[in-house]
């Protein structure tokens, strides 16, 4: 049997010399291909510029949604961004595919700044020290409590952590 449909989505972050982040997301799939690129300023995580391109589409009307991505410039990555972007770019008057790519971009700065602290914890020499490292990570990021099974009530990481 051969594959009926495929999707390949790639997102990345590059640190720019001026201190901002260049974030890219692109999707290449059987019936659609698009790229989104945005610059995110630090430390306020404001989207200062955004551009998008649809290279292949399901039908010709898809291209009409492209100018909507400009509405995202000026927004800050943070609480409520999903609803705002879906409202501005997705929905029945827009393109949910482009909205998804923009939201993919919005996830990347958060993940980029999670790599360092996680790497520090995992570099600790013993399991006990790593566990204490995870607890400290949770203390510094209390919003993670109950965010997933690892930080849920009853997990080893929650032991001794007062939030």
């Amino acid at each position: 049997m051969v594959l009926f449909y495929s999707r390949n989505k790639h997102a990345s972050v590059t640190d720019r010399e001026d201190g901002s982040l260049l974030v890219k997301a692109q999707v290449e799939e059987t019936c659609f291909a698009a790229q989104v690129e945005m610059i995110v300023s630090l430390p306020d995580l404001e989207i200062t510029s955004v551009k998008a391109k649809v290279s292949r589409m399901m039908c010709e009307q898809c291209a009409e949604a492209l100018p909507l991505v400009n509405k995202v410039a000026g927004l800050k990555v943070g609480p409520g961004i999903i609803k705002i972007i879906n409202g501005l770019v997705g929905g029945s008057k827009g393109c949910p595919r482009l909205a998804e790519l923009l939201l993919e971009c919005c996830d990347q700065p958060i993940l980029r700044f999670t790599v360092g602290p996680i790497a520090e914890v995992l570099a600790m020499p013993t399991e006990e020290e790593q566990m204490e490292g995870h607890r400290e990570f949770l203390r510094r990021n209390p919003r993670l409590a109950d965010n997933c099974v690892a930080f849920a009530e009853g997990s080893l990481i929650r032991e001794g952590v007062e939030l």
Partner: protein, 154 residues
């Protein structure tokens, strides 16, 4: 030197098979600087219900993460056509299990919906473009995947 290197990268890859009428099987991979995991998801049309799911975690961050694997079964029985499908997956698979598994599952399911749309287009070869577009629009609205293209008369 290397001042242009990536400081984070995430790849998501989904392949969908269509082994028989009304059955879609997706294999998805999420791989980034922190996490690596895979899912196998089976969805049956016409109700687009998840009938089988299995996953593996290849790279995780805590010794507790593996507890998310059994929580994948919370997705069995969910229909991709449910209006609140995304929030159900985020809650039952993500919040109760692993957020990254939930992200990958949503990617797999969305790709299956695209595969179903393509299937519709291929089997509707004898229809006029207008009628085919109308049928696809009906299906995408049912699946809460409405967009400018499908809400615009062709």
């Amino acid at each position: 030197m290397f001042h242009e290197k990536l400081t984070f990268a995430r790849n998501k890859l989904v392949g969908v098979e269509y082994p028989r009428e009304n059955l879609f099987i997706a294999h998805g991979v999420l791989d980034d600087d922190i996490y690596s995991m895979e899912l196998d998801v089976e969805v049956e049309a016409p109700h687009f219900e998840i009938v089988r799911i299995n996953g593996v975690m290849k790279r995780i961050t805590t010794p507790e993460c593996w507890k998310a694997i059994p929580k994948l079964q919370n997705a069995v029985g969910l229909s991709l056509a449910d209006e609140d499908f995304t929030s159900k997956v985020n809650r039952r698979v993500g919040r109760e299990g692993c957020r990254h598994f939930a992200t990958l599952l949503l990617e797999c399911c969305d790709t299956i919906l695209r595969a179903a749309t393509l299937r519709e287009a291929e089997t509707g070869g004898d229809l006029e473009d207008e009628e085919l577009h109308r049928r696809q629009a009906e299906k995408m609205t049912l699946l809460h995947k409405d967009c400018l293209a499908y809400s615009t008369p062709k």
